[in-house]
């Protein structure tokens, strides 16, 4: 690797910016594409929130944007479901899986481990371009006849299998399946690359227990992806067969649109099992990188080692392991054998133990710290708050007996948006504020960051907290309007409040958007180590070069959390409140990672 690192400088535009095999460029590509998709997903949510907050009211400006989707400025019920479905798909997969892991695993794995690049630059390039292609197919599906997939992001058959069932189950659904198949290829290429790189390309001295927690999180995330995405692939492949080749893996005894179908012996519940076998680990594919980023940001800005480094690794491993044994908690009331429900309740509530360990470890890291409130740190603190808030309601949903009455209500919507959506995005945004200098060599503006954080957290809780109340009142999710049931008549003001906050939340992202685009071109040039951090990426030159370090790759001598380490006289070791990983242990100094 190092031998070939030098003669790439004079590459032409096409290979430098487009078909780059450089992990830093690919990270930027993932960030920009993922964020753009996230922006689209967010705008979609604003549009359907308008319908929910003001059902049946006409918004003239929707008509030119949405055309036949919103005749007379009123979103149609079909297209409401289409927006909900694509919003979910984009946010879960395109923003918080590819956008999050793609950006930070790519950027940080080589830089924090001391590698010249990913194990396979070409696979990395393919990973991005498959992702790009899959994004294009997903967006293209918005424009086909009948509209995009509309059966919810979980696309349960038979609704998704039968074009007669709803308009979105025609061409739109086919494109959804194709897009996801390409997406899975991208995800597998990326994940395999991350795993191989972490195991093989660590610099001298970078033992597994000297890796920053970010890398641990990215590694386990990649393992989760490799083990679970193929199952989704088979699930959608069988769905594709059912749709196109007349098989009936998921179909049986169906009468629709005036005729009984020639299908027999299949079961939609089989699809649910396959889907959630990915679907649940997917939650942690989103959460673990966000938590890894938080660990790094909290330690750096508290000027303290992360508390319980090994317990943090242990809890990542425990969460990952248990996440494969809990998928059935999405299916308590699908007609699955109640005994299985009992088993899944047991395993599900176990996840709360390693999650609690993580939270307490973050709290202890803050305790007696010397906290710098950079925008990254604010979002990391926000993540701890959302992780607690959303995690605790998970104890209710994971309990099969309680799930009976809150299943598929707004309680679930509130829960997973807080614990997965907000924690995932807060982690990602925190990472962007923190590593923007590494991504683009420039600094983001702090004041816009402060504004962004406070407006975001206020409006985000304003959107999602009231949803718990809707859920406890029995309001189902995926309802186009709550106007048809007299028991929900008094919910209109809650829905209106949520919509107002949703618009505010979307508007708050303008601060971020502006900040990012302004700073990419006009931000002040980043100093070498702006946050005074210990990890290796801050030893690499600010201006990106192929191969990351101009000379030898630095050698690592200590773990990444030697912040505010003092000697026997109470003086900082090394004279400053942080000791970079590249500094050898001083005489008589104890290696803090050896606990």
């Amino acid at each position: 690797m190092s031998a070939t690192a030098h003669h790439h400088e004079d590459k032409d535009f096409l290979f430098k910016y487009i078909f780059s095999t450089d992990h830093k460029m690919i990270a930027k590509q993932f960030f920009l594409t993922g964020s753009l998709m996230g922006l689209i997903g967010m705008l979609m949510s604003t549009i359907f929130r308008l319908q929910l907050g003001y059902p049946g009211e006409s918004f003239a400006f929707l008509e030119p944007i949405l055309g036949s989707w919103a005749p007379d400025g009123i979103l149609s019920p079909d297209k409401y479901l289409a927006l909900v479905t694509i919003h979910g798909t984009i946010m879960v997969f395109f923003l918080l899986t590819a956008g999050l892991s793609g950006t930070f695993s790519n950027l940080l794995i080589p830089l924090q481990l001391g590698a010249r690049d990913m194990a396979s630059g070409f696979m990395n390039l393919l990973s991005y371009w498959f992702f790009f292609l899959s994004s294009c197919v997903m967006i293209a599906s918005l424009f086909v006849e009948g509209g995009p997939a509309s059966g919810g992001w979980t696309i349960y058959p038979p609704l998704s299998a039968l074009p007669q069932a709803m308009p979105g189950s025609g061409m739109g659904m086919t494109l959804w399946i194709i897009s996801m198949a390409i997406f899975i290829v991208s995800s597998l290429l990326g994940s395999l690359n991350y795993i191989v790189t972490v195991f093989n390309l660590r610099t001298k001295g970078m033992t597994m227990t000297r890796m920053p927690l970010t890398i641990w999180a990215f590694l386990i995330t990649a393992v989760l992806g490799v083990l679970s995405f193929p199952v989704l692939f088979s699930a959608v492949l069988l769905l594709f067969f059912d749709r196109s080749f007349g098989t009936s893996f998921y179909l049986s005894d169906i009468y629709i649109a005036g005729s009984a179908l020639e299908v027999d012996g299949g079961s939609p519940v089989l699809y649910e099992h396959l889907f959630w076998f990915l679907g649940h680990p997917e939650v942690y594919i989103i959460l673990l990188p966000a938590l890894g980023i938080t660990s790094e940001v909290v330690a750096t800005n508290s000027r303290k080692p992360i508390f319980g480094y090994r317990a943090m690794i242990g809890s990542i491993l425990a969460i990952a392991f248990i996440s494969f044994l809990v998928w059935g908690h999405h299916m308590f009331i699908t007609g699955m054998n109640p005994f299985l429900g009992a088993v899944f309740t047991f395993t599900t509530l176990l996840v709360a133990i390693p999650s609690a360990v993580k939270v307490f470890n973050y709290l202890t890291t803050l305790w007696k710290g010397n906290i710098k409130f950079t925008p990254a740190m604010l979002f990391a603190i926000g993540l701890v708050s959302t992780f607690i808030t959303g995690g605790l309601t998970g104890i209710i949903l994971g309990d099969s007996a309680l799930d009976i009455n809150v299943h598929d209500t707004y309680f679930v919507v509130g829960h997973f948006h807080i614990v997965m959506g907000l924690s995932g995005t807060f982690g990602m945004i925190s990472g962007i504020y923190h590593w923007f200098p590494k991504l683009f060599g420039r600094m983001l503006d702090k004041n816009l960051g402060f504004l962004h954080f406070w407006t975001t957290i206020i409006s985000a809780y304003g959107v999602f907290f009231p949803m718990h109340f809707l859920g406890l009142a029995g309001v189902p999710r995926r309802y186009y309007a709550n106007t048809e049931f007299p028991i929900f008549d008094n919910m209109y003001d809650i829905n209106e409040l949520i919509t107002v906050f949703a618009i505010m939340a979307a508007a708050s992202q303008l601060f971020f958007l502006f900040n990012v685009f302004y700073s990419i071109f006009k931000g002040p040039i980043a100093p070498q180590n702006p946050w005074r951090s210990t990890t290796l990426e801050w030893t690499a030159p600010v201006k990106h070069i192929h191969g990351n370090w101009p000379g030898e790759i630095p050698e690592v001598h200590r773990w990444p959390y030697d912040y505010s380490k003092v000697d026997d006289n109470g003086e900082f070791i090394g004279g400053d409140d942080f000791v970079p990983q590249t500094v050898p242990l001083y005489n008589g100094e104890e290696d803090a990672s050896q606990h």
């Binding site: 005894d253 012996g265 710098k372």
Partner: protein, 360 residues
């Protein structure tokens, strides 16, 4: 015109922000600061916002509880619902303090330990004792919750037996309405399947099965006698639906190709619930709670819970299947062959055998 104004407003907003940014930058530069290093003054300001946010967050939650508390589902109208509600209360009692304490610690620490250049952060990397403590305590609490939850789950999901002498109802879901079928005098449901659907026989009743001749089906509303066990069977015609009866703490998916089940004992009549809620127009509803298409949000049925006499009077007024549908002579002749065939296929996909559990 409106759109144009919005676009202009957005552009002006962006210009305004960028101007503010450059002004702030200039001011900062004049003071020897830059646009990314958080100064001590700013750090203290952010630290002060922490407890303020915490108080605002708690106040927002309390406001919601006060303003919307009475809109939550009223007391459970079924027997098992009461124990589910108790489990819910217990769970809230456990998680609320955890929520409050961890949030207070989070924002208190953030405020208390804000950066001070005269202070050193404590190098505290690890403590076996503490880590054991906060592994063991959640484990213990969760173990209690799991055991409590599972005992209730087992109670709720316990199948009825013939000795319970339940009222049996089949709820039939299709895009986008519900139908309730009662087995009639003989307490036996007639066979049904999609292959029999024809004309007005949308339930797919096998008109050659005599068990079904006295079956009764109703739309728009169905009735239940109070304080009697009710055995529900759920079928779906086209896509997955979910029968959600929130006031009874009851929900079960309706899956094409399967018969799913749930049972409960309604414990409060519609009249009683009207008194409890103080709403003379209150009605119980059956909702569809699994996305099933465009009119999903409007797929409903009213549920009337009444005394057994009223229920009996109501059910006797309903016309049996035979009277509604009539018998077709042509079908009668083809009984033997078709019935044998359908029997064998139905046993294979478990449809018929599941429906008839209580028959035998």
């Amino acid at each position: 015109m409106m759109d144009l104004l919005i676009i202009v407003a957005v552009i002006l907003g962006i210009i305004a922000i960028s101007k503010i940014v450059s002004v702030l930058e200039l001011v900062g530069k004049a003071k020897g600061e830059n646009s990314y290093n958080v100064t001590e003054r700013e750090n203290r300001f952010q630290a002060r916002l922490m407890p303020i946010f915490l108080i605002a967050y708690f106040a927002f939650i309390i406001w919601q509880l006060v303003a919307w508390g009475d809109r939550m589902l009223p007391v459970s109208a079924s027997e098992h619902g009461v124990i589910i509600d108790n489990l819910m209360k217990t769970t809230w009692i456990i998680i609320t303090p955890v929520f409050i304490i961890t949030h207070i610690l989070l924002f208190y620490f953030a405020w208390k330990y804000a950066y001070d250049k005269n202070r050193k952060a404590q190098f505290f990397a690890h403590s076996n004792k503490l880590e054991m403590l906060w592994t063991a305590i959640p484990a213990l609490v969760l173990l209690i919750l799991i055991l409590y939850g599972l005992s209730i789950w087992n109670d709720v999901m316990e199948p009825l037996t013939a000795e319970d002498d339940p009222v049996e109802i089949e709820l039939y879901a299709r895009q986008f309405d519900w139908t309730a079928r009662y087995p009639g005098e003989d307490k036996k449901f007639g066979d049904a399947g999609v292959r029999f659907i024809e004309g007005t026989n949308f339930l797919g009743m096998d008109s050659t099965d005599q068990d079904g001749w006295d079956d009764k089906y109703v739309k728009a509303e169905f009735h239940l006698p109070v304080n009697k066990p009710v055995q529900f069977y759920f079928r779906a015609q086209d896509v997955i639906h979910s029968a959600f009866m929130p006031h009874f703490r009851a929900q079960m998916n309706c899956v094409p190709g399967m018969v799913t089940r749930f049972n409960f004992v309604p414990s409060k009549t519609t009249e009683e619930m009207r008194e409890i809620t103080g709403n003379p127009e209150f009605n119980y509803y059956l909702l569809c709670n699994k996305i099933c298409g465009a009119a999903h949000y409007n797929m409903k049925m009213e549920i009337i819970v009444e005394s057994e006499e009223d229920y009996n009077a109501w059910i006797s007024e309903q016309k049996p299947f035979l009277a509604v549908e009539g018998m077709k002579e042509s079908e009668k002749e083809s009984v033997p062959a078709e019935k044998m065939e359908s029997d064998s296929t139905q046993t294979e996909n478990g449809e018929n055998s599941q429906l008839s559990v209580l028959k035998n």
